[in-house]
């Protein structure tokens, strides 16, 4: 009987951890995508100062999120996002807007991939 209780506790813990992981990843990806989209849009409109601020914000936010995400996600895709985001403020600073736009897109795709890889979809399960 004690073992069955332990089993129930494990089940609750598993559901909590898995739901937290999925929800957190979705929240982070939505927020990061929004920031990067805004930064890219600002660069397209020539507002490089805002673009730089936003890309800096994205890098700072990601730094915080990384510490949480790396506890339940493989580190390699997270590091790929790190590398992409770390270059954005400098690209904006030196007015490399074409590269900046491309890197923003790359960052968005990488973050979307993180989100998609966490979803318990048919594609991911099989």
């Amino acid at each position: 009987m004690k073992r069955l209780w332990a089993c129930a506790v494990i089940l609750v813990l598993l559901i909590t951890v898995c739901t937290y992981g999925t929800v957190k990843t979705q929240k982070v990806s939505e927020q990061m995508t929004k920031t990067l989209e805004s930064a890219r849009q600002a660069a397209l409109e020539g507002d490089l100062e805002t673009a730089q601020k936003l890309s800096q914000k994205a890098a700072d936010d990601w730094h915080g999120y990384h510490e949480v995400l790396c506890t339940f996600m493989p580190h390699a895709p997270l590091e790929a996002v790190d590398q992409t985001l770390s270059g954005l403020p400098m690209l904006c600073y030196f007015e490399g807007t074409d590269q900046f736009g491309a890197d923003c897109d790359r960052g968005i795709t990488q973050i979307m991939y993180l989100n998609e890889s966490q979803l318990p979809s048919i594609e991911n399960i099989f």
Binding site: L14, G46, T71, H75, G96, T97, D98
Partner: protein, 281 residues
């Protein structure tokens, strides 16, 4: 395109500008790298590699300890059956756990949770399956199968042996392991669900018991180790219905202290055996 009015330096061009800032503490470098790039650039590459290697080894060390604890807890939760005779489902779980635990142990790029979650799921499934097997015979049959009689009333059932893909060599080997050296001696041989073979010999080949011979053997009860390497076990004393006072009395009678004893066994009848520790060289 509004990009037209902007300069379009390629990435290489952008990074050529970095040379001017490489020895400065430009804020983005500080924020993103934790230290300035100039600090990092001044470090010899060999040193950087060694620090990372050391960290990886420490991470592996800590992870292995944590996974070891988790596996011990998992096996304890699954119960004693897991460490003795494995049923099909238990064998699968044991193999999977050992395999899963190895991944985050070796690959520090994988989160530790990626090892914990599958282990927890397997433990949960194993407890549920064993619980269900206790409740339902049908479910037990479905998971574990049923015992198969390969020698029935002295006759070898070739059909069942074929079903089990058991060769005559396998049968002879299993019989020999049970101290049976002739097929003639066997009345029944049953392959249990855990793969082990149970044997019932023909009545004329069975060894007579004390009861059959009408011999009354003294019941000495359970013999337990009451002192091991100078340490008294209260649990063992309880098992053989003896008290500490009885033990102290025995030791006083023998003029020996607990520290001098390597092993002492006792039974319910009060018989005991003492083996002293070897003299230190």
């Amino acid at each position: 395109m509004r990009f037209d009015r902007l300069k379009s330096p390629c990435r290489g061009h952008v990074f050529s500008f970095l040379d001017r800032f490489i020895n400065t503490d430009f804020p983005p470098f500080r924020v993103l790298c934790g230290s300035s790039i100039s600090d990092k650039m001044n470090k010899p590459p060999q040193e950087e590699h060694t620090i990372s290697g050391d960290k990886n080894m420490t991470i592996s060390f800590i992870r292995t300890l944590l996974l070891y604890i988790v596996i011990i807890v998992a096996v304890r939760l699954m119960g004693k059956r897991q460490i003795s005779e494995l049923q099909t489902s238990e064998l699968v779980v044991t193999l999977l756990i050992s395999d899963i635990a190895a991944i985050p142990m070796q690959d520090t790029g994988q989160p530790l949770v990626s090892g914990f979650i599958p282990i927890a799921v397997l433990v949960m499934c194993e407890i549920l399956v064993s619980g269900l097997m206790l409740k339902s015979t049908k479910f037990r049959k479905l998971i574990c199968g049923r015992p198969i009689i390969v020698i029935n009333d002295g006759k070898v059932d070739q059909k069942e042996m074929r079903r089990l893909r058991m060769s005559t060599e396998d049968l002879s080997e299993q019989l020999r392991q049970k101290n049976v050296f002739s097929l003639e001696d066997v009345a029944y041989a049953i392959v249990e669900t855990n793969g082990k073979m149970s044997i019932i010999k023909k009545t004329d080949k069975e060894q007579p018991t004390a009861g059959m011979l009408g011999v009354a053997l003294p019941d000495t009860g359970l013999e337990t180790v009451v002192i091991s390497d100078g340490v008294i076990s209260d649990f063992s004393l309880q098992l053989c219905n003896k008290s500490r006072e009885w033990l102290e009395g025995v030791l006083r009678g023998k003029n020996i202290s607990t520290d001098q004893i390597f092993i002492m066994t006792a039974n319910r009848k009060g018989d005991f055996n003492i083996i002293k520790k070897d003299e230190k060289q």
